[in-house]
Subunit: 451 residues, 2 copies
């Protein structure tokens, strides 16, 4: 007896470098996993069933880099340079955050992600206990990194981090992993990075860090250390453990080899890269070099949405544009970034990212009966270049139905929207010199190290 | 007595270079125009009313360059270079088109556009009688250009073009204009361009043409004529009449001045530019030079969607990326491209593109109660960077309701999807050497002129 059977949908599977669609098949689920995929599985063999006639089943999408609670700052700061964005807006506003704000902000983003078929996220933020609670309640999957800025901050929080890992690593039925999150080499010295590497090793967890997002960060790293941020991260021991490097838009000589040799996963966030005008990772070249790349949204303060269909489309379009080559980043590669490659970046390969027997049943079902998805020449093309988050009808994680017929089943969206709206005004207050950190601008290059 | 009043919505208006939102206002409509905008207009003063509590009213979006019937080829050809795309796929497949196919393809795109709040389009295609019939039925607004490739084709069709203009210019209550559409200087010689300019002048209509989409087209033009495609178009007399130039991604010295001096409207299609890796118009610089720019989708064969919210977002992101400047293409400028500037490109300024008294009542109402639009710091930021076509709830053109509660009222979407699906297989058949035209590739530079 299966727990659940999804009947009569089209199932997207990867076969090596290609994708195939099994038409009018059923998926049976037991113990949170995919137990069978076959042309017809009778509803009588299962405790529950979902009629998915004509829908497309895809692996739940993976968001490889986000700050989900930053949904609270969506649209609050637009059209400004990155140093102004950090120093005059984001970091002052983040100094207003209470743990409960983070909880509601995380839930808001999770509502949006479930509605867009995004079932897993690598998150990087403060108040991670509250983020974990939100994930547990929403029923999705996450790798949660605890953001650390500087040494004093880290020292004071060492015990808290240990508690967080003890409390949440492998929690929520294995849906939550806890990683450490030194913010970036430009606000964390090498000693701190080395300390984080040792602690992560001790805890048996990975590291999630921002690397080389802007050209100026690379210049500054070379001026300060004589090497690139990637090399600094490597020398500090961060690549000796599982690592996610977000952005990595600006590479120096040898950086690509370091990332590849140590299996560092890269999270490319194309919408942030374009919006901030900070440049984008050479994803096509990275993949050719054997580096695993996933697609991230980043936080809604810079990216405005947690929509992985949108981010994947942008990533593919931007690679073609950068290479001036329409053959770069073909359909299946783009789709792979958002699913099986994203899973690998999160260290969850073999567990999620593909619809195969014994994988976790993290599934999004898309309604294909839409004008913008007609006529159907190629469902993969439609998915990468035409589908919208609003086409997602039903979402499962670990076999549990989180949304059906676009109705969220685990969280109360109306309450979340009320709670976040009520916090909006307080969170955008900015007090002189009150900010959680200072971004090293050209005018103020030593800002970070002076802390 | 008004014909219709839209009650209690938030109304987006432009005030010079800024945008304002009038909260909880009503819009009264009479004789297809906006008759009043006020905080409260009683339903008793109007024959009909729409309750739009909490919704955002924006000007109907303008698609400044499209081939709407190419919805028929959505997703049919992906990841190939532009010459292969034309010569091996699109132009062979287009040789299968019958006028009735074009009619259903146009309706499919119109369904998608209405669902995404797009109320006007500058279209460029064959079988324009059928496109016009589709527009008339759907109830939207269009500037329809009759595509001409070469001299023989033009000669044979001169009378037909005259009939088309006589039959449709100003038709459908003024919602349809007819322009002439010489395809591009790379498949139309200078004599033909000059002939088209004379004919357009005689008919009292404008010209819609593709210009300088790729660097190779510019090189070839210089090799053949010693001048850029923009200069060729100008010298052929095309700029002496209202003109839309699509793409214009590659400019030579003096081109910008020509476009500005003659008031040529540029239609930038960012998704096509990125997908084909062909480069993008320097939109920010063009605007600074005083050139009017609109945003287009192009055809779904290259762009996959007719979604102007998506295209506007891409255009803004791409300008910031190209300039490596997050301050480039700020929110209101981006929004302006999709509305009032688009209207100017179509020669419809003063008539559509803004929500002001005496303008045509072309209005999209967006539902804002969505997780991805919360909390609401800045509704313009939400519109440009977060909103989806699926947030559009209600659409009016010339005061007539075309969609309400996402239900299309003028066209039968299910029938359109059946009709286009039934044509799919026949339309993708490709016969050796059968194509409507040949794209001049590097291997075959004389292909076009040899016709």
């Amino acid at each position: 007896m299966y727990d659940l059977v999804i009947q009569n949908c089209h199932i997207l599977q990867f076969k090596g470098q290609t994708a195939v669609v099994l038409p009018n098949h059923s998926i049976a689920i037991s113990d949170s996993k995919i137990a069978a995929i076959a042309p017809d599985i009778s509803a009588g063999l299962s405790r529950e069933s979902i009629q998915a006639h004509g829908m497309l089943a895809i692996p739940g999408l993976v968001n490889a880099h986000a700050h989900i609670a930053m949904s609270l700052f969506r649209g609050a700061v637009e059209d400004v340079p990155i140093d102004v964005w950090f120093n005059e807006y984001i970091w002052p506003m983040e100094s207003n955050l209470e743990p409960e704000d983070v909880y509601w902000g995380a839930l808001l983003a999770l509502a949006e992600m479930i509605e867009g078929g995004v079932t897993s996220v690598a998150d990087h933020y403060f108040a991670t206990h509250e983020v974990a609670q939100a994930i547990e309640q929403a029923g999705t999957r996450a790798v949660l990194a605890w953001t650390i800025f500087d040494r004093a901050h880290a020292k004071q929080q060492t015990k808290s981090m240990a508690d967080f890992v003890a409390c949440w690593h492998g929690a929520a039925g294995g849906r939550i992993s806890t990683w450490l999150g030194p913010h970036s080499p430009y606000v964390c010295g090498r000693d701190l990075l080395a300390q984080m590497a040792r602690q992560a090793q001790e805890f048996g967890v990975g590291i999630h860090i921002h690397l080389a997002e802007t050209a100026q960060q690379v210049e500054q790293s070379i001026a300060q250390y004589g090497r690139t941020p990637v090399a600094v991260a490597h020398e500090s021991g961060l690549f000796a453990i599982p690592a996610i490097a977000a952005h990595v838009a600006h590479l120096g000589k040898g950086d690509m080899e370091l990332l590849q040799a140590h299996g560092v996963g890269v999270a490319c966030c194309p919408k942030t890269a374009m919006k901030l005008g900070s440049g984008v990772a050479p994803v096509a070249a990275m993949r050719q070099a054997g580096i695993t790349v996933g697609v991230g949204t980043d936080g809604a303060a810079s990216n405005n949405t947690y929509d992985i269909l949108e981010a994947t489309r942008l990533l593919a379009l931007l690679q073609k544009h950068e290479m001036r080559d329409p053959q770069s980043m073909p359909l299946v590669e783009a789709l792979s970034l958002a699913t099986r490659d994203g899973a690998r970046v999160l260290g969850l390969n073999g567990m999620i990212g593909e619809l195969e027997i014994d994988m976790q049943a993290d599934i999004a079902l898309l309604q294909l009966e839409a004008a913008h998805l007609h006529p159907r020449h190629d469902v993969v093309a439609d998915l990468v270049y035409s589908a919208k988050a609003s086409d997602v009808d039903t979402v499962l994680v670990a076999g549990r139905v989180l949304m059906q017929g676009r109705r969220l089943l685990t969280i109360d969206k109306a309450q979340i929207m009320r709670e976040t709206a009520a916090r909006r005004e307080r969170l955008t207050q900015r007090l002189p010199e009150r900010r959680i950190q200072t971004y090293p601008s050209n005018e103020n290059p030593g800002a970070a190290s002076s802390k």
